[in-house]
Amino acid sequence: MLGLDKKDMKFLLIVTFLTLATPILLQPFPEGSGLAQFNAGYPDLMQRFAIFGIFAIGFNILFGLTGYLSFGHAAFLGVGSYSAVWMFKLLSMNVLPGLVLAVIMSGLFALVIGYVSLRRSGIYFSILTLAFAQMSYNLAYSVLTPITNGETGLQVTLNDPRILGQQVSASGNVPGTHFFGIEMGAAQKIAIGSWEFTFSAGYYFCAIIAIIAFYLSLRIFRSPFGLMLRAIKSNQQRLNYTGLNARPYTLAAFVISGMYAGLAGGLLASMDPLAGAERMQWTASGEVVLMTILGGVGTMMGPVLGAGVIKYMENIFSKINDQVLHQWFGWLPDSLESIVIWAAEHFVGSGWHMTSGVLFMIVVIFLPGGLVEGGQRIKSYFKNRRGGDSDDPEHHPKQAPHVAE
């Protein structure tokens, strides 16, 4: 069905189910309990899961399949955001034209940047993309102020033309973003017992787009085109000797992943109609690299998982403050408590970036395959202990070489 084999279809269905049930699954703790702060089932955060999931899926098409490490993908996110907000300003608050323009603009941008950057590979490619992204960032801050509104960021105002939609809402404010009448800000709260679930239109909009994006990337992964990209990663020289030009393929992958980033940027602007240059900064590019690596480069589920974990941790870690720490470690003896709290303070609150840096290092050092590989390792470990006879090639005696090594 849908051009997928049975296994992939099952996979897609599971992902779809998980995505749609997110508002329930991420709200495991009842309201008012001590653990309620670990709930993640509120619209703003769930939207970011979906949006950054899309961003990471797109990045993975480039980095995971072709092995080209781009350090400038945030530029496309920024371009997407700016184009979407401009559509909100000029046409209407309907998100559709905004998203379409975001994808087209970021695609064009990626075409230009990719055409130049892909002439080089390896670290040169990373630095070229980084240079382009920093250039866009600097320009957005300085000369392009009429388009980007500089440091303040681009916002929708009451004076915008909005020729197709309403200029001012009934209450006299700037109208909210909507999809053919479905307000993005609308949310339905349902309380079951002491649990409270929020079903937001904005989240479901992002989620459906994310599922479509996931499906497309699944198709790309399984297609001959995807196979070609993998060939580029494993041995580009051999590919060249076979008489195949790798560049059109890499360029296509670059443009596709740029469009994914633009779509994510457009969605960010659709949920909250403003765009700032800091979205293009290279730390933002670093973040998407981290998401992909953390989840597992080149795997289907990895980037989404990574994006979710990073955004969740960012949210939770920033919320924890001294008081919470004192609550947690109150049972320790005083001297020990102060030491633990002193150490923990570095990582929580505004120290979230420190946590992300440490996480970055730990993942790269100990788990280059990311969480997905970690999961597989645990699985095979249990399998080995239970079954005894495994299909793990590492634990079978090696075939003796024909010629002495």
Partner: protein
Amino acid sequence: MDAILLQTLNGLDKGSAYAMIALGLTLIFGTLGVVNFAHGALFMIGAFCAVTMQRLFSISFETLDPTQTDFLGNPLKVKTPYVESWFGPEMGASIIDWSVPLAIVFSIPIMLFVGYAMERGLIKHFYKRPHADQILVTFGLAIVMQELIKHYYGANPIPTSAPDAFKGSFDFGTMLGFDPNVIIYPYWRLVYFAFSAIVIGAVFAFLRFTTFGMVVRAGMADRETVGLLGINIDKRFTIMFGIAAAVAGLAGVMYAPINSPNYHMGMDFLVLSFVVVVVGGMGSLPGAVLAGFMLGILESFASMNWIKDIIPGIDQIIIYLVAILILLTRPRGLMGRKGVMED
């Protein structure tokens, strides 16, 4: 003519910083083959060495001075830095005044140690891993260093002053026979340039004229053969990593009075220094220095008003533009050698 000279001079201080950081990056890359994204953080740590030194010297104790009173009529509290009470008021005051140059002495062992620890503790395990992994792990390390500094020193820039003797500017133009008041140049920038010239010269001399340097150069050319000759090349490369870190740190120490150090200055410089290294040619030491000064001066020329009128925003992007042009026309950079990073 005077305008050209002025812009060249203006570009020298940034160019010096680029050149020193890029030199360290190239040293690390040329010896160990590691792409170090944490090098900007080392530069920043150097700058914060200067800040720490100034703070340490200014630690003071309070005494009550009965001869003076504050506005409430109580005896005035007088703060006296410890150094002033130890070395006498005049000597103490000049020590505080000269804390930035003095920080050089203090920063060299610290940076050597940081570099050594970094190489032995982390980078050593990444020689056999792909460049992407090296980039990522050092990127993570850079974030950690940056956040540590932010945690302890705060997010705001910390003004760090140069010694009084070098404060202010002087009329450089009159010395060369130009009209007065045309080329005004701050003393400290000249000091910074001279300092960077000395440091860069020292590194080159060290590599050129000492036995240790000779072995390192041989190792850069062919690591395996040098190893087979019974020389412990790894140990020497580790020391070179420490030296590269020290060069970046020194660049940071002396840069503190030019721009107040803040926690993200390293990242700002890192991106540009990488561009410098690539423009100069990966693995070429003279290339890195040349490209550093060249790009610094170009940046300064691009920020002239009449050029900005023709091409708005050019001062923001000139370095990236040049880098893109050079990478596309001369893929190995200005002085890149064949066979370095060709894969």
